[in-house]
């Protein structure tokens, strides 16, 4: 009895013991760092040279096949853009399947299949693997390359190019690449309209025949498939793929600038400046400095607790975000620190960037920063391992970069062994604060002078080419003369003044729909009407008459505010330059600018209430070639034709943040001095 009681009490004690209150006043310690079990990829090579990696993971009945070509980067020169077409051209149908049939067969098994210039990827459920491999092999062996697909892709690319010419981030990217790598380097060249249109079907076929060879290819198989099965299916579908000689290419390393310089692209409608501070670096995956460079970047500008973010956003409020990167590459890597900042703090932001770069290289990092960065990077390394594709990627990297077999197995150990001194040394090895490229895309008239303190300022155009040298404005040139020259150029004051009213119809295409703009101008009575129709339906109309403005959207109307009226009045005259004086506008000549290659006088027009637009008049012809309006965007005038003795632009290109692609509008109907009735303004 006693025994039992003691046993009972013991049990009680034990259980009480195990439920003893935990010490909640301090955080539990981390357990011993887990062993990272990176599943090893199995590998084999076919006779034709195709090297295969198999990462078996049968948690889910899925399997994916990724084919990668390892070729040298290509300098595409006058056919820049070629490689961008290859993937979609390969997916555009085969000898036995049209594009539609191919799409339907992929969809039917719930699979995915895609191609690029150096890859083809497929994935599906295990049970559909034969079908998806059959489709993948068909795309690899028998692409049809239809001409109509190339035509379509070229058209799409031109549209994209037009959009990117006005996109400040795209401009910034092109400029940085042009400066860091040079235009004669595969990483520095740009696609142009000419180079894109220069790509012929034969070029695509030749690329395909040259580079799609098994002896430069790797295949990664990830999922529910073991090595034995992989050998069987790879042999079946890719065994007869014939090898061939693939050319190799070498490039000179870019020569870095000897002292810090500033590259500036003028985008006068910008309210923000895109800043990118960059330089080429010698860094490849597997280098001594590589892992330290990940930690370094994490501390400097890798995230929302990094130095750049804390300084430029949290402390100064210059930007929504400031980041950096240290990109590694076999040929040449790149350091970059970037942010989009308000125009008026452009120079202050650059000061902070330079300060942080100097501080990083001179003073290094702290132990606390190092520990935090390690924890954060180790965490994301661990999480990335959840995806089996990561393992395949590791195996590919070990092969492509000649890394030790245990490189990723010991990655975290290597990272955790890094000291403050290691990181500081890496900062000194990689970053040179004395020869940076500071690039800026923004309103040059506001920021150019302020940027001169950082180095010589060189102007570039929106494609990253040096801007045409714009002559200084002659000393005796005045804004009045620019306007007079314009009026003279269009036919003289008397002919221009004789146009008292006009009806204009313009037509453009947007997203496959016809867009029509109808305008009626009545100078004498200060009346104006504009209808915008899409597919025949009136989307919006504006009427100004009797000193009032009315905007109608979908049949419902709204009065214009005083500010809107003030700004709109400027647009209501058919030839507004004749009336700038009487309207009480202030004009300012802002130098000679490059408008798509044409030197032009820039005139800033300000209304009594402070609204502004900018007009650009060709130095050579005197004609107005561009209008910048903060509300409606940029309008480019072309195809001037003589009507009633006055030169009138019959084509316009409108670029605006409100529309996804530039609008190409043509004047389809023009009536000068028509008889106008009240109905024209209803």
């Amino acid at each position: 009895m006693k025994k039992i009681a003691i046993a009972f009490i013991l049990t009680l004690l034990v259980s009480v013991g195990s439920f003893a209150q935990v010490d909640r006043s301090k955080l539990p310690e981390s357990g011993p760092a887990p062993e990272i079990k990176i599943g090893e990829a199995e590998t084999f090579t076919l006779e034709n040279g195709l090297k295969v990696f198999v990462v078996k993971n049968d948690k889910l009945p899925r399997v994916s096949f990724t084919l990668v070509l390892e070729r040298d980067p290509l300098f595409e020169g006058d056919k820049a853009g070629l490689t961008g077409f290859v993937g979609q051209m390969m997916m555009a149908g085969t000898d036995s399947r049209t594009k539609e049939q191919l799409d339907e067969e992929i969809d039917f098994i719930g699979a995915s299949l895609s191609a690029g210039s150096t890859s083809i990827s497929a994935s599906s459920l295990k049970k559909h693997q034969d079908k998806v491999l059959e489709l993948m092999a068909d795309v690899l062996y028998n692409p049809k390359f239809p001409q109509e697909e190339l035509d379509k892709l070229q058209k799409q690319t031109l549209t994209g190019l037009a959009t990117s010419k006005d996109d400040p981030n795209a401009i910034s990217g092109r400029l940085s690449s042009a400066l860091v790598y040079g235009k004669e380097h595969p990483y520095g060249e740009v696609e142009t309209e000419e180079s894109v249109m220069n790509v012929k079907l034969a070029d695509i076929k030749s690329y395909y025949e040259t580079f799609f060879k098994p002896n430069i290819a790797y295949m990664a198989i990830v999922g529910d498939m073991d090595k034995a099965e992989a050998e069987k299916v790879v042999k079946k579908y890719f065994g007869k793929w014939e090898k061939g000689d693939v050319p190799s290419f070498e490039y000179n390393d870019p020569t870095p600038t000897t002292k810090t310089m500033v590259g500036l692209v003028d985008r006068s409608s910008s309210v923000q400046t895109v800043i990118d501070i960059a330089q080429p670096i010698d860094l490849t995956l597997g280098d001594e400095d590589y892992i330290a460079s990940r930690v370094l970047n994490q501390i400097f500008g890798g995230g929302s607790s990094s130095r750049l973010f804390m300084n430029l956003r949290e402390d100064k409020g210059y930007t929504y975000g400031a980041y950096s990167s240290l990109a590694a590459d076999k040929l040449v890597g790149q350091f970059s620190a970037n942010a989009s900042v308000r125009t008026d703090v452009t120079d202050s932001a650059v000061v902070e960037f330079i300060y942080e770069i100097n501080k990083l290289v001179d003073e290094g990092v702290t132990q606390e920063e190092l520990e935090k960065a390690k924890a954060s990077l180790a965490g994301s390394f661990g999480r990335s391992l959840e995806s089996p594709a990561t393992i395949a990627n590791f195996a590919l990297n070990i092969e492509r970069y000649g890394l030790p077999k245990d490189y990723y197995e010991t990655y975290l150990q290597k990272m955790n062994a890094l000291t403050v001194e290691d990181i500081n040394q890496t900062a000194k090895n990689l970053i040179n604060p004395d020869n940076l490229y500071i690039t800026a895309v923004g309103n040059a008239s506001e920021i150019k002078d302020k940027l001169a303190q950082f180095g010589e300022v060189i102007m570039y155009d929106n494609m990253g080419f040096p801007a045409k040298e714009m002559a200084a404005v002659d000393a005796d040139m005045t804004v009045e003369k620019v306007i007079d020259n314009y009026i003279e150029a269009i036919g003289g004051k008397s002919a221009a003044s004789a146009i008292k009213a006009a009806k204009v119809t313009m037509v453009a295409e947007i997203m496959g729909q016809q867009l029509t703009i109808e305008q009626v101008f009545d100078n004498a009575n200060m009346r104006y009407m504009q209808n915008t129709l899409v597919g025949g339906n009136v989307m919006q109309s504006s009427v100004i008459k009797d000193g009032k403005g009315l905007v109608k959207v979908r049949g419902q109307s709204m009065d214009m505010t005083d500010e809107q009226m003030d700004a709109s009045k400027m647009e209501t005259y058919y030839l507004p330059e004749l009336y700038y004086g009487t309207m009480g506008y202030t004009l300012k000549l802002d130098g000679i600018k490059d408008v798509e290659g044409t030197p032009a006088y820039k005139v800033i027009v300000t209304t009594p209430l402070g609204a502004t637009v900018s007009n650009y008049y060709s130095v050579e012809s005197g004609l107005k070639i561009k209008n910048e309006n903060p509300v409606s965007g940029d309008t480019f005038y072309t195809d001037y034709q003589e009507k009633n003795g006055v030169m009138i632009p019959m084509a316009m290109t409108i670029k605006s943040a409100m529309i996804p692609v530039p609008l190409e509008a043509k004047v389809t109907n023009l009536e000068l001095n028509p008889v106008l009735t009240e109905e024209d303004f209803n």
Binding site: P34, G110, A375, G379
Partner: protein, 443 residues
Amino acid sequence: MMRKFTALGLMAGMLTLPALAQKKIEYKEFDLDNGLHVIMHQDNTTPIVVTSVLYHVGSKNEQPDRTGFAHFFEHLMFEGSPNIERGEYMNIIQARGGTLNAFTSSDITYYYELLPSNELELALYMESERMLQSKVDQTGVDTQREVVKEEKRQSYDNRPYGSLLIETLKRSYSEHPYNWAPIGSLDHLNAASIEEFQQFYKDFYVPNNATLTIAGDIDYAQTEEWVREYFSEIPKGTKEIYRPDVVEPKKTAEIRDVIYDNIQIPAVIQAYNLPKQTDPDSYALSMLSTYLTGGNSSLMTKELVDKQQIALAIAAIPLELEDGGVFIMYGIANMGVEPETLEKEIDKLIKQVQDEGISDQDFAKLQNIIENNLVSGNSSMAGIAQNLAESHVIFGDTDYINQQMEIYGKVTKADLQRVAKKYLDLTGRVVLYYLPKSAETTE
């Protein structure tokens, strides 16, 4: 949010299609004396662990004059505890290499941390602090009210069609508290006293209303030991948990309205009341939505977006809820297309499915697409944890996670036509037109 939830719910493991050997998801579960339900799933492939707590409280558990409480708590519950400094919750997790997040639906509030597996004890400690002694004080309430205000501005007021859920629910439910969306009313939050917030915490943030799920690189015995250490001392709630017992009456007439919003392009919304989430018809309805708008080759996308080009986008979303959700269909009109035109064409296609059903070929394709999606859905620990928790709480059986594929396999072609007729009832639905605000001025 709920769509994702629903989709994950479906993805557990499904279809009895013969060739498919879907792996069973193994787990262990136990209850503490205080009522906390614990589910553990071991998978040592990757050294990470997900720790989540599902509180069975959503906006439907709120009082009509105190809406937004459940969602507000999702913010307030990061304010810390006597042992965790204000605002430090996230920093602590991040400094140990982890990430975290949370969400609130009409039915549940869900918190999770994703950490390296040697930080499991930390995750359990953090979640136990939240359940035992989370800070609910005036400073925290004031701070988080500002954050929620900002969130409402960003996600609802300033986002095109952002008020869609709010406006739809308001009209789809006349009796049931699904009438209001989780974001609730800022006025209600402003009017509430600190005691009311504290009471809400006492009522709903109790172990007997919570499910703790741990999935990943764990040791079952060690995990259970830590769970007992950190969670056993948390007292059980003393009150019965308030759960509304309201049956939403069937609508007999269509409700039609116009919403003026900060948008450029009109949209058409249709909403049809659904059966309870646990109703067998839910599966056919989910498949029906995929048939209608899932992917480029789906019926409505092909017809209205590609062929007729009258819609920019179209989507059918079965918002599945415990007490019966809504099947929301929304179409954004192409430029120059009147919403009336778009609605007529949508109705025509619904009618077509109701009258003619779907072809064998399409049904086979649909099964393949759904099967592929479902299988892929269980590829992450975070997905599995959420799925296990929901199986237990919503479907009353954790093993439900392993049964879904079988249930899906039973849906027939005829079922799709039948549920289209039964639930997509044109006379008892809600129809909303979203029009640009500029169109409102003279009305």
